[in-house]
């Protein structure tokens, strides 16, 4: 398995990358970690004529809280996310997800930006972004833009990124007291894409009433999916087992899985129900502690 011929261009700055992209046009693709794109090129599912390597652009790998916002540089690798002390202590949902993403060697070079920008509903980070209400920061021909996550995923491998845009940063509201998140996916074996995955982020007030809730689903629809109807059931309410069960049921109804090698549509709906309930409980537990 060998990619078709292409020309390689290394960009050392965002400006250079964007300029190259403008110059080379539609047949150019950015590559950061390369662990999503290069396999597709080897299978010749993708045959770009130009690759613009953005992995050498400095300053895009960081994890920090800045005021009320958690900022993660797009070129931060999955491994860096896995081992980051801040994320470990305050945002354990990342650890849940990264642990189940591919394998450690792939995680060493696969980046969070690439995982999101690829627009693949089977990737794990999109569901997290939906649950955490992320804002995607991109740099393009017309300068920087901020895209709310709800507007980001457009279709099968399609996102709000326009030609030339580079995803540079992920912004997430800083974790509040009494908030918690959790992610799990069912996979056929370790490192597999999700049969189905659910990300939950919940914020409680002092009385245990749900102030904010985000639920994102992995690989049960053509586009990474936010479970809005389920969120509405919980927002503003004290979370009870009955409500959790109701949200699980909604998740199984609203997701749009297809039967394939990972199981039938009915099976996937059923496990989405189960994982949604489990992740709600796990997120609640974390929010309460």
């Amino acid at each position: 398995m060998i990619p078709a011929n292409f020309d390689y261009h290394k960009a050392t700055s965002l400006e250079e990358a964007i300029a190259l992209s403008q110059e080379l046009g539609d047949e150019a693709k950015y590559m950061s970690g390369g662990h999503s794109l290069l396999p597709m090129m080897k299978l010749r599912f993708a045959t770009p004529e130009h690759i613009i390597d953005i992995s050498k652009i400095e300053g895009l790998s960081y994890i920090k809280e800045d005021g009320d916002i958690l900022k993660i540089g797009a070129m931060t690798t999955q491994s860096e996310i896995e081992h980051d002390p801040l994320l470990k202590s305050n945002y354990p949902i990342f650890g849940d997800a990264v642990w189940l993403t591919a394998d450690p060697a792939v995680r060493n070079f696969g980046t969070i930006g690439g995982n999101i920008a690829h627009g693949d509903a089977a990737n794990d980070q999109p569901a997290l972004m939906l649950a955490l209400r992320a804002t995607i920061i991109a740099e393009g021909v017309d300068g920087e833009k901020a895209i709310p996550i709800d507007d980001f995923f457009h279709g099968f491998y399609m996102t709000a990124l326009e030609p030339g845009d580079i995803l540079t940063e992920i912004q997430i509201p800083k974790a509040k007291a009494n908030s918690g998140g959790a992610y799990h996916k069912v996979e056929r074996k370790v490192g597999d894409y999700a049969t189905a995955g659910v990300a939950v982020h919940i914020e409680l007030d002092g009385d245990g009433v749900c102030q904010e809730i985000g639920i994102g689903l992995t690989n049960v629809s053509a586009v990474p999916m936010r479970l809005e109807r389920g969120e509405e059931v919980l927002r503003g309410h004290k979370v009870t087992d009955a409500l959790i069960a109701q949200v699980g049921q909604i998740a199984s109804e609203d997701c749009e899985p297809e039967s394939d090698l990972r199981g039938s549509e009915a099976y996937k709906r059923s496990i989405v129900n189960t994982i949604t309930k489990r992740m709600l409980n796990k997120a609640l537990e974390r929010a309460r502690n």
């Binding site: 398995m1 011929n5 662990h35 290069l38 299978l43 690759i51 060697a105 060493n108 070079f109």
Partner: protein, 163 residues
């Protein structure tokens, strides 16, 4: 298509070459440098037979372009111990019968070096998850786990001794 001049350090030696854009790092190492200890097993970054270290981090070299390794410091199985000597992992795989056909072994060892670097004292479960991107079809993994455990112990002792 344009060629690119690249320079990198492999196993401590500087190497320069002119390569095609699409040349995969694993082929550069095997075909251009004639270092055939790094193997190809799956082409889809599923099996880990091609695992090497780039700047100390394990990577599947079948999913990495040679041209991107320009300036990198690369270590392959050939470079982890001087001729006639063993890295603790090499010794442990021998002691614990952690290999049969040997085809996955270089990748498994390179991955384990990185694993023990980030987690010097892993549990059995952490080892199993830590090598989950490396397939072995012969050993059933029991003895690979034991090998990594033995090496972890020896390497910790070595570290203590040098402190």
């Amino acid at each position: 298509m344009a060629k690119h001049n690249i320079t990198m350090t492999i196993n401590g030696e500087s190497v320069s070459a002119e390569v095609d854009s699409r040349l995969l790092l694993v082929h550069f190492i095997r075909e251009n440098l004639d270092m055939t200890g790094t193997h190809i097993g799956c082409d889809t970054s599923s099996c880990g037979a091609c695992t090497i270290l780039i700047d100390g981090k394990s990577v599947k070299s079948c999913t990495y372009l040679a041209v991107r390794a320009d300036g990198a410091n690369i270590t392959t199985i050939e470079g982890i111990a001087a001729d006639g000597t063993n890295h603790p992992l090499q010794k442990a795989f021998h002691d614990q019968h952690g290999l049969h056909c040997g085809f996955c072994t270089p990748g498994m060892i390179m991955r384990s070096i990185d694993l023990l670097e980030t987690n010097p004292n892993p549990t059995e479960e952490e080892i199993r998850w830590g090598i989950s991107g490396n397939l072995c079809r012969c050993t059933g993994y029991n003895n690979i786990v034991k090998s990594v455990q033995q090496a972890a112990e020896e390497m910790s002792k070595e570290k203590e001794a040098t402190v």
